[in-house]
């Protein structure tokens, strides 16, 4: 009879069937599970904060573009806040549209395309030399050639003016002018130097992205083609190029997006010859209180930025299709350069000298020389650093003794430091909620809203903040001119990196260690304090340090939102540039560059992460 019991046993398990829960019961149960832990609550709170800090300012500036602004009621015959197409018409179709929008747009596009082409040519060659050849000093170059990216772009702009400034504008002449050769305007200012500088600054993008694609490339794929009878050039065109295309396109798109928001370089080098790009045009509109037009320009920049990055997202998806191709045993065979070994090394060295050595040396020398390009001993002085009782109208001490520098440094540390700390912590929290919340919609929303500032160039974002917080709204007092607006804008601006770092850290952690603690009997706060935060210490440090570095060298947010009392190092140096205190300005820029560079090194040391991960910050 025991034999008969098999089916009976299975059937026997199905005793009283449990009724299917009604929709209401299922919903109540899910709600109970969702609210059991603070995760969802924290998620809702952060979602609200970011809606206010990110979404609302963007909506506000877009609305500015289509609503009558203060001071225009008479001319437009409408009340403040009424809908109007006047600003759009003015920016796009009026007689001044050419100066306000179209010419800056054309300049932005041509500069960006020039910079992209140049950096692609230099970058791909360097990436190949570094990752696939036996060039001398490959390892050293792999780090050294990335340095331009760690420094603020307008460091190079200042170095350029130090060298090439001509008699077109006042102040101390450039070295070449001082030596008797007057550089023509097209060399000294405008499109040519801006393109060159942006190209050198963003070449590391290509080296990193293209280089890592090359390193992942499986040599067996080449070998298979060779064995089937393909020539070297056929392999290059039919196998390597198609597989490298996503990486190349992606770096192009990223460089374009970066050029779109670049402010410092065109400001320093473009203004003397009235060479305007979109970001400087936006700055001018804001400076001249053309809020409505500023809204139109800012919205246009955002739109271009969003379209560009959507293209990039597509490319990344496409690239992912290729990822599976690389096998585990992928070999990274090196090409022997033979006779070309020395010239190749020379090429890399030249790029390094032009993009790092020369600019920094120029800047450093300029801060210890009274007269430009006069290399006699009596011309050298440390007065600009540590001198006292100098015979100048203002800034009568060396820069290191000037209270303004220290005030700016203090402001920088406080504003950028606080903002980075907050965004680092918020980033980890967002990462936690995104990965853990049972409410999917919340996870998706948080992920997307914190990424939004990435699509918006900093200058447009700053304009959005100005538009929202310049006047009191609801319970919020007017924040313009306060430290608060800078901190808030910085936090929002840094969220893409902070939240991305948090999400990837939480993904890597997985849920096992936390669930194990849960099983052991630990509640939410206990798990946070004993498990999650101690394990995530490293990424928390990166999550604070990387935004800090990008904040230190950031200019576009501050230039719009900072006022003299909230001067930070970057705006302070820009002010010195405006007043033609060349040596002092260069000194401050060197200080910023040093902080950014050593900060990056520190971040790498602390977390053993690769620079490529901080890419785009």
């Amino acid at each position: 009879m025991a034999l008969l019991s098999e089916t009976a046993k299975v059937e026997g398990l199905v005793r009283k069937p449990v009724a299917t829960p009604s929709a209401w019961q299922a919903w109540r149960y899910r709600l109970k599970v969702a609210l059991r832990e603070p995760t969802t609550l924290v998620g809702v709170l952060t979602a609200l904060i970011f809606t206010y800090l990110i979404v609302v300012p963007i909506i506000s500036i877009v609305l500015d573009a289509v609503r009558v602004q203060f001071g225009h009621e008479r001319r437009l015959g409408k009340d403040v806040g009424d809908l109007t197409l006047y600003y759009i018409d003015r920016a796009f179709f009026s007689p001044v549209a050419h100066d306000l929008f179209w010419r800056p747009l054309f300049n932005t596009l041509t500069v960006a395309l020039g910079a992209i082409s140049l950096s692609l040519v230099i970058g791909t060659v360097l990436a190949w030399l570094i990752s696939r050849t036996d060039m001398f000093g490959r390892r050293w170059f792999a780090t050294a050639l990335i340095v331009p990216y760690m420094l603020p772009a307008w460091t190079f702009a200042l170095a350029w003016t130090t060298l090439f400034k001509n008699r077109t504008i006042g102040g101390q002449p450039g070295w070449f002018e001082a030596m008797g050769f007057t550089p023509p305007d097209w060399v000294a200012y405008g499109r040519f130097p801006i393109t060159i500088i942006l190209a050198l600054h963003y070449t590391p993008f290509v080296i990193l992205l293209f280089g890592s694609a090359l390193r992942r490339f499986d040599s067996q794929l080449e070998d298979s083609a060779r064995i089937l009878g393909a020539h070297r050039y056929q392999v290059a065109i039919q196998i390597i190029m198609p597989l490298m295309r996503p990486a190349l396109l992606s770096s192009m798109v990223l460089i374009f997006a970066k050029c779109l928001g670049e402010f410092g370089v065109p400001y320093v080098l473009g203004l003397p010859v009235k060479f305007e790009v979109l970001s400087t045009s936006l700055f001018r509109s804001i400076a001249s209180r053309q809020t409505g037009v500023a809204g139109v320009v800012a919205a246009s920049i955002m739109l271009i930025g969003i379209i560009t990055l959507m293209i990039d997202a597509r490319l990344v998806r496409e690239a992912r299709r290729f990822v599976t191709i690389g096998s585990k045993g992928s070999m990274n065979r090196q090409s022997r350069l033979g006779k070309m070994r020395l010239p190749a090394t020379g090429f890399a060295a030249t790029v390094f000298i032009l993009s790092v050595g020369l600019p920094l040396l120029t800047l450093a020398l300029s801060t210890v020389m009274k007269m430009p390009a006069k290399f006699t001993l009596d011309n050298f002085t440390l007065d600009y650093w540590i001198g006292t009782d100098l015979h100048t109208v203002a800034l009568q001490t060396g820069i290191l003794l000037s209270p303004e520098l220290w005030a700016a440094a203090k402001n920088t540390m406080m504003i950028v430091g606080l903002a980075s700390l907050v965004s680092g912590v918020l980033g980890l929290l967002v990462g936690y909620v995104v990965i853990r919340t049972p409410v999917r919609a919340l996870s998706v929303y948080l992920r997307q809203v914190t990424f939004l500032p990435y699509l918006v160039p900093g200058i447009a974002f700053a304009a959005a903040y100005l538009s929202l917080f310049a006047v009191p709204r609801g319970p919020m007092p007017a924040l313009y001119g306060t430290v608060t607006i800078l901190i808030l804008a910085l936090i929002a601006d840094q969220m893409p990196y902070a939240s991305r770092a948090g999400i990837s850290a939480m993904t890597q952690l997985g849920k096992d260690p936390e669930e194990a603690a849960q099983i052991a009997g630990a509640g939410w706060f206990r798990r946070m304090i004993s498990i999650v935060i101690p394990i995530q210490k490293g990424s928390l440090v990166t999550g604070v340090l990387l935004p800090f570095i990008s904040g230190i060298k950031g200019l576009s947010l501050f230039v719009i939102l900072a006022v003299p009392s909230t001067d930070v190092l970057t705006t302070y140096s820009l002010r010195l540039v405006d007043y033609h205190y060349t040596q002092a300005a260069n000194a401050v820029v060197l200080i910023i560059a040093a902080i950014a560079y050593f900060g990056t090194l520190l971040a790498q040391k602390l977390t053993r992460t690769n620079l490529a991960e901080g890419l785009g910050s």
């Binding site: 034999l3 098999e6 299975v10 398990l13 096992d512």
Partner: protein
């Protein structure tokens, strides 16, 4: 811990996705060593996580004794940290920032036990699992097998009512796996804990479990002792999943499936006429024999003539591959085969070793009895 009862337990990960677990009834009695066995994606790990409270239900309820700990209809959900269960993760999930001793001590600290007792209990499990010498090391300094022991110790220290193990041996090499199997059996005796163990490895299940629950596609296929599962599979899925080489199946009445299958149908229908035209039979390779001449085939057994197409030594035993026009059968023998590829042989299998399934693949238990008690020769 009192009996754990899952009733109509259901899980789906989205409105439109298929159920990971559907309408599952499961009873885990005190002191049992139960294995959830099934192919990957059958819902066994999900079931384990539902018991632990790490997955919430989409329907049904879970009780411990008379106490409902999870129910959609009643809106009850006891969180994992209050269920007093232990779970060893497949990845071990040791806390990388705590030493082995602190890892083991973690749960006891949470329970705010006096220091002396904590130390005694940590000592006891560390001794039992032979990890006391690593107490000051960090998890990354231990090998996989040692980490496994720490993961077990960490859970045993709090003396949980039930210990849930999620494929705990799958990351170990063959030798360690054997050692840990013995270890688990010993721990089960020593700590007298109820153990629920998830695995896709049938031998692990066979050697360890007192009860095996075979799952497939989110539903329970059969629950029984290891012998039940192997000797009396409730359906074709269980029959084919358990056993290696897998059971040989001959389907009746399939068009074109002549020769051996027809013979099988005739053979069975002669003893149990209802079988004509429906169902299939299964023959375990280990239950089969072979003979070179028809005269050597035992009386009353089911047999057929086939060609040897392969002799595969497996170390101590051999697998013969036999082919006819439409079928390939495997049989296992422990004596050195005196046949070679191309030879014609007669396989044979005694009537009581045949497993008979109906058209839906369910075991026909009445057929068992009839085939077995048959006096027909």
């Amino acid at each position: 811990m009192p009996t754990i009862n899952l009733r109509g337990a259901q899980k789906n990960y989205g409105v439109n996705s298929a159920n990971a677990v559907s309408d599952l009834d499961l009873e885990i009695r005190d002191g049992e060593f139960m294995c959830l066995l099934g192919p990957s994606g059958c819902g066994k790990t999900t079931t384990l996580r539902m018991i632990a409270g790490l997955e919430n239900l989409s329907g049904g309820e879970i009780r411990v004794g008379d106490r409902v700990i999870d129910s959609v209809a009643d809106g009850i959900f006891i969180p994992p940290e209050k269920r007093e269960m232990g779970l060893v993760f497949q990845s071990y999930a040791l806390w990388p920032h705590l030493t082995i001793e602190r890892n083991t001590d973690f749960g006891l600290r949470l329970r705010k036990l006096p220091k002396a007792e904590r130390e005694a209990r940590v000592e006891r499990v560390m001794q039992a699992l032979d990890i006391a010498k690593y107490r000051d090391r960090y998890p990354s300094q231990l090998s996989g097998g040692q980490q496994q022991r720490v993961a077990l110790a960490r859970m045993l220290a709090v003396n949980p009512g039930v210990l849930l193990l999620d494929e705990p041996l799958s990351n170990l090499d063959a030798r360690l796996r054997l050692e840990m199997r013995a270890e688990l059996k010993r721990l089960h005796k020593e700590f007298k804990t109820t153990i629920v163990f998830v695995t896709h490895d049938q031998w692990e299940a066979m050697t360890l479990a007192t009860t095996i629950a075979v799952m497939n596609e989110g539903t329970l296929q059969q629950m029984g002792t290891p012998d039940d599962i192997y000797d009396r599979p409730a359906n074709r899925f269980v029959a084919e999943f358990v056993g290696s080489p897998p059971i040989n199946i001959l389907t009746f009445g399939k068009p074109g499936a002549s020769d051996i299958a027809d013979k099988a149908e005739t053979y069975c229908a002669a003893r149990y006429p209802q079988l004509r035209g429906i169902g299939s039979i299964g023959m375990r390779p280990e239950a089969m024999g072979y003979a070179a001449k028809i005269d050597d085939v035992p009386q009353g057994s089911f047999s057929g003539e086939m060609t040897v197409t392969g002799v595969l030594p497996t170390g101590g035993s051999w697998i013969l591959e036999l082919r006819s026009e439409n079928h390939t059968l495997f049989l296992t023998t422990h004596a050195l085969p005196r046949v070679d590829s191309g030879d014609r042989v007669f396989f044979h299998v005694p009537a009581e070793a045949l497993h008979v399934f109906d058209a839906d693949g369910q075991r026909i238990t009445e057929a068992d009895a009839l085939l077995r008690s048959s006096t027909y020769n």
